[in-house]
Amino acid sequence: MAGEMAAAGGGDNFLRTFTRAIMRQQEWITLGVRVLLAVIMGTAGYAKFSEAEGLQKVAVSSYRILPQGMVSPVAFGLPVLEMALAALILFGFATRAMAICVGLLFVVFIAGIISVWARGLSIDCGCFGGGGLVGKGQTHYLREIFRDLGFLVLAAWLMVFPRGKFALDRLLGL
């Protein structure tokens, strides 16, 4: 009994110590998360941006969610949105607001993939370029959803802990 209690106490202690250690390094972790998220968003955005226009439109329209008229603006606007968010997050400008935007974006992406999966369509998510229809057995929806969930966790960290090292926010007095 005493042994179990000691173990439980030890477990609690470990969690507390661990959390304290994390919090001591929080501003560095935030910097790391900012850089990581910026690289991810920037790569995804640029990969789409540098593709043939027709392919970008096909990638968006194969989700069969948006009305025809919205396909073009979304196909061309999304890469720019991702790169702009990436840049601002990298420099730590309006970090919390940008992180919220990124979070919303990933929620929308995840919802889109789930919607496509539920309707039995076979597409490539086009998250890092490419996209469009694929053969029936060649979809990777679960993988794509979990990957986006991972990115969502990064964005959530920034929402909760927006203050970080080397941030423009800090320079501007936030």
Binding site: E53, V58, V80, L88, A94, L172
Partner: protein, 277 residues
């Protein structure tokens, strides 16, 4: 209250007031920065979309290779005597991705055909035969009209049809419109009108569809064969530069010998004298 106590509480109130001011300033600062971030991002997106929309769709203004109708209804675009690879284009006029393909690479294909660098066979067929209305009907009427249209202005007619492609799910390609576009191009004869209204080419549409799906094993559109090899959609068909490179690198191939008598070659600009190589 003693004087000292009054002074102390006054100092405290001042300090509190300053603290409140500082907090208010911080809030305003935070709001301003957040708003600025959102505005920057929104501007970037809006400006990009505006400029991309403004871009003129690349309208082809060059010469067209002479076109002739094959026995099976396909249209051959080929410069006389050209020894060039064979490009076979299987498409459905109602298919949105075919529209994207035409937008992306149509001009390139026409230009290469006119220069004798590729021989193109167009096979518009009825991919959406098993779909429900209105897609099924749209697709059939367009395929029928394309077979009714004479060979010499065929590519321009084909382009006009794509230009007016209805959104997937809405009705379009009415016979009236299909005849109207023929009229715009100058081939609105009574025979053409009867052919369109009376769906006179139905059996040829079916035969071409059968050829595409059962003989050539085409399962989706656009499917494009270069010398018999299917080209990849994302990397090649939607990427005009890549498509051109692939075509120019391919060896010449024989085109099917059966041709119905050629009608006069059509050009939208008079070609300069071709140099003998």
């Amino acid at each position: 209250m003693s004087k000292a106590a009054r002074q102390r509480s006054a100092r405290e109130r001042l300090a509190e007031e300053r603290k409140r001011q500082a907090q208010k300033q911080q809030r305003v600062r935070r709001l301003t920065i957040s708003l600025s971030g959102l505005v920057i991002v929104a501007l970037a997106v809006v400006i990009t979309v505006y400029f991309v929309n403004k871009k003129d769709p690349n309208v082809y203004t060059g010469a067209f290779a002479p076109t002739s109708r094959q026995a099976d209804g396909a249209i051959l675009a080929s410069k006389p005597g050209a020894k060039a690879p064979k490009l076979e284009v299987f498409e459905d006029f109602q298919c949105p991705i075919c529209h994207e393909f035409e937008n992306a690479s149509g001009s390139t294909i026409k230009r290469l055909a006119a220069a004798g660098k590729v021989n193109v066979l167009y096979y518009p067929f009825w991919l959406f035969k098993q779909q429900s209305e209105p897609i099924k009907g749209n697709s059939e009427r367009a395929a029928n009209a394309a077979l009714c249209a004479p060979a010499d202005k065929w590519i321009q007619y084909h382009d006009a049809i794509y230009k007016h492609q209805p959104a997937e799910g809405s009705k379009g390609f009415s016979n009236k419109d299909l005849i109207g576009w023929g009229k715009d191009l100058g081939f609105d004869t009574p025979q053409f009108e009867q052919c369109v209204n009376g769906n006179q080419k139905q059996s040829q549409v079916d035969a071409m569809t059968n050829f595409a799906e059962n003989t050539r094993k085409v399962t989706g559109t656009p499917t494009v064969f270069l010398n018999g090899q299917s080209l990849d959609l994302s990397s090649t068909l939607l990427n005009a530069k890549n498509l051109e490179k692939t075509i120019l690198a391919a060896p010449p191939a024989a085109v099917s010998p059966s041709t119905s008598p050629s009608t006069a070659p059509s050009t939208s600009a008079s070609p300069s004298a071709t140099a003998k190589k």
